[in-house]
Symmetry: C2
Subunit: 514 residues, 2 copies
Amino acid sequence: MTSTIDGAILFGADERQAEARFTAIDPRRATPLSPSFSSATRADAAEAARLADEAFVDYAATSPNERATFLDALADAIDVIGDPLIERAMAETGLPRPRLEGERGRTTQQLRLFAAFLRAGGGLDPVIDPALPGRAPLPRPDVRRINLPLGPVAVFGASNFPLAFSVAGGDTAAALAAGCPVVVKGHPAHPGTGELIARAIIRTVGERGLPPGTFSYLPGETEELGAALVADPRIKAVGFTGSRAGGLALMRVAADRAVPIPVYAEMSSINPVLLLPAALEARAEALAEGFVQSLTLGSGQFCTNPGLVLACEGPALDRFMAAAGAALSACPASTMLTAGIHAAYEAGVNALIENDAARLLARGGKAAAPYEAVGALFETLAGDFLAQPALGNEVFGPSSLIVRCENIEEMARVASAMEGQLTATIHIDEADKPAAARLLPVLTARAGRILANGWPTGVEVCHAMVHGGPFPATSDGHTTSVGTLAMSRFLRPVCFQDLPGELLPPALRDPAVD
Amino acid sequence: MTSTIDGAILFGADERQAEARFTAIDPRRATPLSPSFSSATRADAAEAARLADEAFVDYAATSPNERATFLDALADAIDVIGDPLIERAMAETGLPRPRLEGERGRTTQQLRLFAAFLRAGGGLDPVIDPALPGRAPLPRPDVRRINLPLGPVAVFGASNFPLAFSVAGGDTAAALAAGCPVVVKGHPAHPGTGELIARAIIRTVGERGLPPGTFSYLPGETEELGAALVADPRIKAVGFTGSRAGGLALMRVAADRAVPIPVYAEMSSINPVLLLPAALEARAEALAEGFVQSLTLGSGQFCTNPGLVLACEGPALDRFMAAAGAALSACPASTMLTAGIHAAYEAGVNALIENDAARLLARGGKAAAPYEAVGALFETLAGDFLAQPALGNEVFGPSSLIVRCENIEEMARVASAMEGQLTATIHIDEADKPAAARLLPVLTARAGRILANGWPTGVEVCHAMVHGGPFPATSDGHTTSVGTLAMSRFLRPVCFQDLPGELLPPALRDPAVD
């Protein structure tokens, strides 16, 4: 019962099979997996949005404690699916078992963190300015503000995190925590994994007695489906993790609506790593090893993959390049998620190979299957990087570019020329601190997260996390897609002036006096 | 010295006269006022944006206390201008002295409120998740988050509040408080008032030793100027208060940039007032008097003007309409701000007069000068209002429409059909509370501020205020243009992972241990 996969569209508690079908592909073998899945249409998107809109007032009126209990139950329901979830995700993504088990833990931990945040009163930010009836020349009214849910939210899962950034991932968790019904457009690369999770959510909605439209699931593979969902007038916000082209397309649809809505799209980042001179001198080889590990993690298919390294010319950089090249050469090829991602990776690497300004330093081990990625490491000069903005394009996968700078000032110029990023990393020793202080304002203006002496892959799910950043890392640098601050995407402030206490949201009422 | 008006463009500490000129018009006489003003160009916008960008890192690095001292000094510098400011504003806007003196007090109070908020640590929202080195399977890093300024901000002042929503108005105060340099595109209807304030800001920037590009002022009257400023790649956010057409145009420019930026536009609102049955029965005449006062305040030129009244059919509504009609008939005509606003008002009123679904209830006293507005009160049936969305269009000025509803359910249907609003008001007695509870979810989903038993004109400047609301009231219902929450428009969260304490922003450092 908890591991049914039959390819239905899930409209709240109802389900329906569509005639048009698609299948998932096992990327390790490039062969289709059964069963086939319904390819949802514009009409299906409208139906799911209508249900979500119907559910909104009642779901929004649930208390934070009720939503916390729901999120905890949802985490439990995902755990209950057990091994069939991991096995289906392995088949659909080619990702190894330990990675997917870890990702499942991260997904349920995220739901439980939002539950704890809700129980602690998080996200509502109540503010009370009491009346001042005696103020001259005019009395001050009683004004009270709180955050309220926006309305139905459309969520587009990512291919590269089939659990943590997909059907019950960060956007869904944040929207449900905020009090917003959710319609998920499932990612066509892992529709079975998506359906297992979607059914767990829908069962939990039913068990908790919540309105059925609180959650719906649209499997599908057409761009038309996604565009129709974003264009639906009942949808009030969009969460998306994916490609820059995909995110930009949804941003255009949202901006062209009669009533524009926010699209929270996480799109593109090359996550610069700055190796400062003293740190590089002290541990070039260790840095090279850590770098190649981060670069090749999950076949390089992380939004936070370190695609750019900046360092100053000299023997220490030569040592780093030699060690990184050797480490990458020893890395076996590894399966990518989809044919499309693999083809885009190959095209990105080939563009660098054909670019005279970039020199190939090393490749990883040979591919033995059609979707296997072969690591690639390039170097270029800062002047060439500054002259050719295309060298800064994201190559999604285990490819990175080392930019050789004359000095810290040139490093700052390269950093200043970068687009918005999810992360920027500095490796520093004590003697590097003045240079770090010089570079930090440049980096903080361009990235959502600044790391020292670590690697950007691996995003802690916590209150202080910012997994976001200026465009094009995301469409809106004011927010994050990971951590409890993500709830604010789906909330808006409303204030109440002189409203009688019993009509106020509970968190704005005066404490009861006995 | 504090009352120089010579029509220059003010590029930080430098100033320049342009050849192309325009003049302000005295709306009471429809005659030009001297002197003439420079009409800034695209190149001038680029120059001001360049200066702001140059100033950004240093201004952003000022401490909250330094910015608080600057804002307090700025409030003092506005007070020091004295009567020449009020007299020039009276000449340029036709608004009466007490109103402008009150607005000046509100403007300086707003600056001082932000100063106090900064001193109390407001707006930064620091959050610290300390490291957990012993956590299994992986240690947790130290993650610390804080809000940092976005970058240079472009501010477009409103015509209807030449002080509180203009050169040193809410957007400028919020951006400067946040640590963002500001470039103001002055409103061409009050360029002299704007210049007096701009010079006060620039003097204060100099006296506080801040970077000159912290503030620049571009007088101008072309749409090209505004579009160029919003399109400039160095501008990172836009604050705008004005017409729906103007706001939408700037939103399009911002969305079409290579790097899109947020536009915080406050545009259009008809501010529904719902008269519930028991309250209407108890005090129809008093409500009518309060309503007409709010409707005609400042010639009806408030964003929060009550342009729509919903009430249930019956003798109490008849009493209200009779009393409101009589009160409006007794109101003299009053000068509007500009020829354009007056013409749009006349067109809006005439469209209602010619609409068979609307019946004219009353007009105000006759006009004696070219830009004088004559009040207008209409009524219609709920069914007609639902059938004709154009009846809900904003008529900026002292015109309002009463919608007669069969019962509370029909009132809820009319409210559900409304566009996003800055405010929604309910007048209630004890017996109305169940109906109010039924209506509140509909109203909170559509408005930024809900008032009980008051009138929407008059916006308290305080921490809890939300002067915002769903589109088209504003372009972004997540924020406010009045109150200290407005700072968040110009801030974005950045997190720091394992950064050594001395490199962290001061508010994120561990407390010193002696």
